[in-house]
Amino acid sequence: MKNTNPMGNTFTIASAEIRALFREKTMYSITGVFLLMTAASSFIGWSTFTTADAVYRASVVYLHAQGVSTVPENPLHSVPALASFDNLIVYILLIGALLAVIIGHRSFMRERRSGILQVLFVRPVPKRSFVLGKILGLGLVLFSIMSMTAIISIASSFFLPLQHITIGNVGHALVFFLFSFLYMLFFALCGLLFAIVSKSESLALFIPICLWVGITFVLPELATGLTPTALLNPVTILQLPPLTGFFSTAQHILFPISLGWHYTTISGELLGSSFSTNLSIGQVFSGHWIEMTTLCVSILTLGLLSATALRRFDPRGDYVNE
């Protein structure tokens, strides 16, 4: 029987994927941790800011008592309105990416473990529709997680403000979440690809995690000279050592593939964390079109690789070991 509606298959698989992912306790747990950290990041940002403000006032009193007459202006006044989102950049870089890898991994590993693929591919379901449906399902799940994150963060920045938030700031924040969604999709596709090609379940999870470590820590370290922990501090990443000699060369060579660094710098500019000028969304992306192209090309490549890997995948006698 020839299949007449491949897109219909795609949507059926996508909706099955969403239902299956939302039924998983593991997925709920990690998403819960992620959303909790989102809410916590706003609170941590707010409490740190208010304490630092109080420390400034205490410092003024202390300096006056020491006989200092001219006290510098409060440095916190230069803190951008969306500074409470800074920690979120780090959480998406860490928990968000891990969550995406796990979602992508489970998405295909679940089917392999249950042996459903042997039955499914007896039916007239083209493998192309199957992989498209999987990617669509993964995308929608990640998009809904990102939307919840956006709602929590934006709402809490109104309740726990560091500075006055404008509509323009909210626009910047929404674009940041959209960009973060693309970044997470990249890692979800990594998880999916290795779940298709690997014979071992643990290796299918370890390889994307190694890739994630490389993208998040190793490549930025080689290109900037910053240590892994320094790369996780939104303020210390602004204190880059001067790039000379090796680092300058390494940055030129590794620049196109340093996705983690691109994510941090573009997000920082979108949220105005660069403490420099307030750039418009258009200025941010036009200044980083190479990085954006790299990310989009990487996502497309992973999608195509997953489709190719699935075409070669033979469900007959497929056995996944630990």
Binding site: T48, V55, S202, F206, T229, P234
Partner: protein, 310 residues
Amino acid sequence: MRNYVFVTFLIFLVVLTGISMYVGALNFQVKVALFEKTYQALIAAGQPVGNLTRPEFFPLQLLRATIEYLEIIGAIMAISLGYLSIAKEKGNNTLPLIFTRPITRKKYYTGKLVGNAALLASVCALLFLTIIGIIVFVGGVHLSLPEVTKLIISGLATLVYLSIFFLFATLCTILMRFPSNALILTFVVWMFFVLIVPQIGDTMDTDNQVPGGFFNALHINQTDSHIILRQFPLYENLRNGTEETSITKHYERLTFALLGIKDIYNGKPLRYILLDKVWETLWLIGFLLAFGFASLYAFARSQVLWQKVE
């Protein structure tokens, strides 16, 4: 050692050790070049140069990024080892067969622990010998006996740190019916305590609120900043308490002190450092013993181990 996941991580870690030390050396060169440039500029302008401090080279300080990679990748490697040591048995359903032989569960598991501890010890020995080799043969730097001793003790601390993650991974894999769920749970806990908690403590630091330092912007020195911060005991205790929950932070504080990465411990005698960091050492040993006994107890009692995993 036949497991390619473990071997892959080991190679990854050795390569990263080399890279991070090379990057550390380059960073130092950049600092020296910057100093020379500033020095020459001040001389040319006829300005005084007395306030400039020439960067001093301390070879063990190059290990900062290496320790951070051990915290991250080393822990993942130990997790992979712990997970696989139990998941393999569960997947192959070999345990019921093994226990038809006259061996108790406790003896069997203790044997597993000893074998894996020997493996982790050889990994630490390999890594720290690589570090010494790079410093001495590539860098051409002579290491004194106290420096070698500090490196050996840092190696032991690394062994304890990695063993904690190994034991935690075995514990989760023993207790959970599906090994893959245990692996995911272990990764989430790893991420939370290795990366997130120390990051929270770091970002809560008042001095980290603006680039260049909050107190630096107010022209307040470190001593005065401590006096001012004493007015905020609740906040500072909360920040410190957050960091204390992370085993990684204890390992980092101990090794950073031993290797002189934390400036106030640089060049201090070993005895002084060990006495000052006794609390961190106790935390590490405490976690090791707690997870060791918990996993032994779980292995001896768990019914899940005997359930066939489909």
